[in-house]
C-alpha cells in the first residue's frame, strides 16, 4: 500500500501542468492573470482567481516535487527543495537563509507553524506605516477562512521531548507558553516537514490551493524563471521567462512570454524584489528591496541526561512569547522562543567544530535539545532591516547587517534560552557562536556569554522567514504598493506575498501571508470580474 500522490494523480486526470524544461520552442501565452511564484501568496491567490472563472497562469522556477519524491533525507531535500541547495545566505555569508524553491514554495519545506498576525503588529502597521483596513477585526475573517482551508488547528498530540523541554523550561522559569497551531490533516507525527511531507498531511500550497486552481482550469508552468516584466506606459504587458534545464541551473535557450491583463508578483521576499529590480520597475523613492526583514534566529544547544530523539515527532509544537512584547513594540528587541528539529547534517553544521571534536559531540545527537529565539526586527527605528540588490548576473542577494540593537537582543536571548535549559536539567549548554563552548551550569554560561564577542560572523545567525522588500502603505514616498497590494505607479501589477509586510511579523509568517493575500486577491477579483 503506497501513499496516494494526489498531485501526480491530478496531472494524470488532465491538469494543465507544463514542465518548461521540455519546451522545444519559444512560446507565448495569453491569460487574464499571470502569477509569478507558487508559494504562500501565489497559491492562495491563484485558487481565488481561478475559482472566479479568470484564466490563470502560474509560473514557478523551482521543480515540481511531490510526496513520491519526499524521502525524508536532509541532503537530498536541501538540494532539490531549497534555494541555492540550502546554501543561500546574506551577501557577506554571515546569515544562513533557508527558503524554498519548488512548486508550493517555502510552504513545502516549512515546519507547519501557523499563527495569525499578532494584534500589536497590526496596530503598529496602522500607527507607524499608514496601513488602513488591516486591523484585527478586518483580518479575522480572512485568517478564519485560510485556517479552515488549510486545516489549521492546535496540535493535540503531546509534544516530542525536544518541545517538551522548552515547555517545562518555561514552566520552571515562570514564562507563559502555548501550543502551536499547525496546518496539517491526518499528520503521522513523523517530524520531516522540512524535507517535504511524505504523507501529504502538511497542507502546503502543493496539496491545497494549487490543485484548487488547477481544478479550475488554471495552468502551471514550472522550471521557468521570470526574468523581467515588460511595460507599456503604466501597465505591465508581459513577463519574459527563461526555461531551465532539469538541474535548475542551466537554461535551455527557450523563452516564454506570458501576457495578461493583471500580473501578480508572488515570488516571495528576496526573489520578488529581485524580479522588480531586474525589470527596472518604476521606483521613484528607491524603496524596492529595502526594509527586508528576517526574524534573525540565534540558538542554544543543550545535551540532556536522557534521550531526546530530536529528529522525530512534530518539529514545532510549543512556543513562548514571554519575551516578544514585554518592552512594547519598539523597545529593546523582542523574541519568540521555539525549537528546531535536529537531524545529522544540520546539527553537524551548527556545532562550529570539525574532526574528532565534532564526532565526539555528534555522538550525543540522541540526547540533544536545542532552542531558537526568533528576534523581531523592523519595529524599532533602530531596526531598518536589510536590502535586496542584484548581482552582476541579475540574481538577487540580501544584504543584512546586524547592529547593536540586534546584538543586545541576541545576547539576552542566549542567556534566557540557556537558563531555561539548565532549569530542566541539561548536563551542558552552549550558545551557537563560533567561540561558544559547552558550560556545565548557568553561572559558567553567563560568564561565557558576557565575555563573548557579539559581532558579525562570530554569532551563528540564520533565518527561515523572509519578509518585506515591497512594503505596502498609503504613502508612495514610503511604500512600493498601496493598501490593496497594487504597485503605486503601475495599474496592473500587484504584489501578493510576504514582501508586502512593512515590518517583520513577530510570528512564523505563513498564515499572515495566507490571510493578507486571500483578502487582497478577493478584493481584486471583485474589482475585475
Amino acid at each position: 500500500m503506497a501513499i496516494k500522490d494526489y498531485f501526480l494523480e491530478g496531472i494524470q486526470k488532465g491538469w494543465n501542468v507544463v514542465n518548461a524544461t521540455t519546451l522545444q520552442q519559444d512560446i507565448v501565452i495569453d491569460a487574464d492573470v499571470i502569477i509569478v511564484g507558487t508559494g504562500a501568496g501565489g497559491g492562495t491567490s491563484a485558487e481565488i482567481f481561478a475559482q472566479a472563472g479568470l484564466r490563470v497562469v502560474m509560473v514557478e522556477d523551482g521543480p515540481l516535487k511531490t510526496s513520491t519524491d519526499f524521502k525524508m533525507n536532509e541532503v537530498e531535500a536541501y538540494q532539490t527543495l531549497y534555494q541555492d541547495n540550502g546554501a543561500r545566505a546574506t551577501k557577506d555569508a554571515a546569515i544562513s537563509i533557508l527558503q524554498g524553491r519548488a512548486v508550493g514554495g517555502t510552504t513545502v519545506i516549512n515546519w507547519t507553524s501557523s499563527f495569525r498576525t499578532p494584534t500589536p503588529t497590526l496596530e503598529h502597521w496602522s500607527q507607524a506605516h499608514g496601513i488602513t483596513g488591516l486591523g484585527e477585526k478586518d483580518m479575522a475573517p480572512w485568517f478564519e477562512l485560510m485556517e479552515r482551508r488549510l486545516n489549521v488547528g492546535k496540535w493535540i498530540v503531546p509534544p516530542n521531548k525536544n518541545n517538551a523541554h522548552l515547555q517545562q523550561g518555561c514552566e520552571k522559569m515562570g514564562w507563559d507558553w502555548k501550543t502551536i497551531p499547525r496546518n496539517v490533516k491526518g499528520c503521522w507525527d513523523l517530524g520531516y516537514c522540512g524535507m517535504g511531507c511524505p504523507t501529504n498531511a502538511k497542507q502546503s500550497m502543493l496539496v491545497t490551493t494549487i490543485p484548487g486552481a488547477l481544478k479550475n482550469n488554471a495552468q502551471l508552468i514550472y522550471r521557468a524563471r521570470a526574468e523581467k516584466f515588460n511595460f507599456t506606459g503604466d501597465q505591465v504587458s508581459s513577463v519574459t521567462c527563461t526555461a531551465l534545464a532539469d538541474d535548475g541551473i542551466q537554461t535551455t535557450g527557450k523563452t516564454l512570454t506570458l501576457r495578461g491583463k493583471y500580473f501578480i508578483s508572488a515570488a516571495g521576499a528576496i526573489n520578488g524584489p529581485g524580479l522588480l529590480l531586474r525589470s527596472k520597475t518604476p521606483d521613484p523613492y528607491q524603496l524596492i528591496g529595502k526594509r527586508t526583514f528576517i526574524h534573525p534566529v540565534v540558538a542554544s544547544f543543550a545535551v540532556m541526561p536522557g534521550e531526546v530523539a530530536p529528529y522525530y515527532g512534530a518539529p514545532q509544537s510549543i512556543y513562548s512569547d514571554h519575551f516578544q512584547w514585554k518592552d512594547g513594540s519598539i523597545g529593546p528587541m523582542g523574541f519568540k522562543l521555539e525549537v528546531p528539529p535536529l537531524h545529522p547534517a544540520l546539527t553537524s553544521a551548527w556545532q562550529g567544530l570539525h574532526g574528532e571534536a565534532l564526532l565526539k559531540e555528534m555522538q550525543h545527537l540522541p540526547n540533544m535539545h536545542a532552542s531558537l529565539a526568533l528576534l523581531r526586527d523592523g519595529f524599532s527605528e533602530e531596526s531598518q532591516g536589510g536590502s535586496v540588490e542584484l548581482r552582476s548576473d541579475g540574481s538577487p542577494v540580501l544584504d543584512y547587517q546586524p547592529n547593536d540593537y540586534f546584538w543586545d537582543g541576541a545576547r539576552r536571548a542566549h542567556l534566557a534560552m540557556g537558563e531555561a535549559q539548565f532549569a530542566v536539567g541539561a548536563d551542558r549548554v552552549k550558545p551557537l557562536h563560533m567561540d561558544g563552548k559547552y558550560a556545565n551550569n548557568f553561572n559558567a554560561l553567563k560568564t561565557q556569554i558576557d565575555s563573548l564577542l557579539y559581532k558579525n560572523q562570530r554569532v551563528s545567525i540564520s533565518t527561515a522567514h523572509l519578509m518585506g522588500g515591497c512594503t505596502m502603505g498609503g504613502d508612495e514616498k514610503t511604500s512600493v504598493t498601496d493598501n490593496t497590494g497594487r504597485h503605486h505607479q503601475l495599474e496592473n501589477l500587484y504584489v501578493f506575498d510576504g514582501s508586502l509586510f512593512p515590518t517583520s511579523i513577530g510570528a512564523n509568517p505563513q498564515l499572515s501571508i495566507y490571510g493578507l493575500t486571500a483578502k487582497l486577491a478577493t478584493d481584486l477579483t471583485k474589482k475585475i470580474t
Binding site: I3, W188, P344, T347
Partner: protein, 174 residues
C-alpha cells in the same frame, strides 16, 4: 614580513582576497574546466585540495584503510554536486576561494601552507583551519565555514554514516 603579521595588518580585507581569487581565475593561473567528465564544477587543483582536507575535517569518522580512496572519490563527487547546485554565484565564489588556496603565494600567506596540499601534513592543515576559524578577518571565517560545512554536511548527512551519531534514520512508512 612573516605571515602572521600580514594577517594582523588586516591587509587581507574581504575585497582584497576576493580580488586575488578573481584574478587567479581570470589570468588562468588555474585551469577552469572541471577535472573530469563526471564533475560539474571542481577543477583538478580543487580535487587535490579537498582530498587533503577531507580526512582532517572528518577525522575519526572517516575510513583510514583500503576503503579510504574510494570514499574520498565518492565524497568529492557529492561536494561537486553541492557546489554546482548552490547556483552560479555561489559556485563562482567558492571556486575563487579555492583559487586563493591553490596559488602558492596566497596559500602561504593566508594558511601558512607552502607545499602543495597533497604534501601538507595533518598539523599544518589543522593549524590553517584554526587560524581561519579564529581570524578577525571576516572572509577567512566565511572560508572556514564554507569549506568545513560543505564536507561535514555531506558526510554526516549520508545514510551510511547515520550510525556515527546514533541517528536511527527516517522511519519506514510501511
Amino acid at each position: 614580513m612573516d605571515r602572521r603579521n600580514f594577517l594582523k595588518l588586516g591587509f587581507w580585507s574581504s575585497a582584497t582576497l576576493a580580488t586575488v581569487g578573481a584574478t587567479a581565475t581570470l589570468t588562468g593561473c588555474s585551469e577552469n574546466k572541471p577535472a573530469n567528465e563526471n564533475l560539474s564544477a571542481l577543477r583538478t587543483d580543487d580535487v587535490i585540495f579537498l582530498s587533503a582536507l577531507i580526512p582532517v575535517i572528518t577525522k575519526g569518522a572517516f575510513p583510514t584503510g583500503k576503503e579510504k580512496q574510494e570514499k574520498v572519490d565518492w565524497l568529492i563527487s557529492k561536494l561537486d554536486s553541492s557546489i554546482y547546485l548552490a547556483g552560479p554565484d555561489n559556485t563562482k565564489q567558492i571556486l575563487q576561494l579555492f583559487d586563493l588556496l591553490n596559488m602558492r603565494i596566497t596559500r602561504f600567506l593566508t594558511t601558512g601552507v607552502w607545499y602543495s596540499w597533497d604534501q601538507a601534513d595533518e598539523k599544518s592543515i589543522e593549524d590553517f583551519l584554526s587560524s581561519w576559524k579564529n581570524s578577525s578577518v571576516e572572509l577567512l571565517n566565511v572560508g572556514y565555514r564554507a569549506i568545513s560545512l560543505l564536507i561535514i554536511m555531506n558526510w554526516y548527512g549520508h545514510e551510511d554514516n547515520f550510525h556515527l551519531t546514533g541517528y536511527p534514520g527516517a522511519p519506514k512508512l510501511f
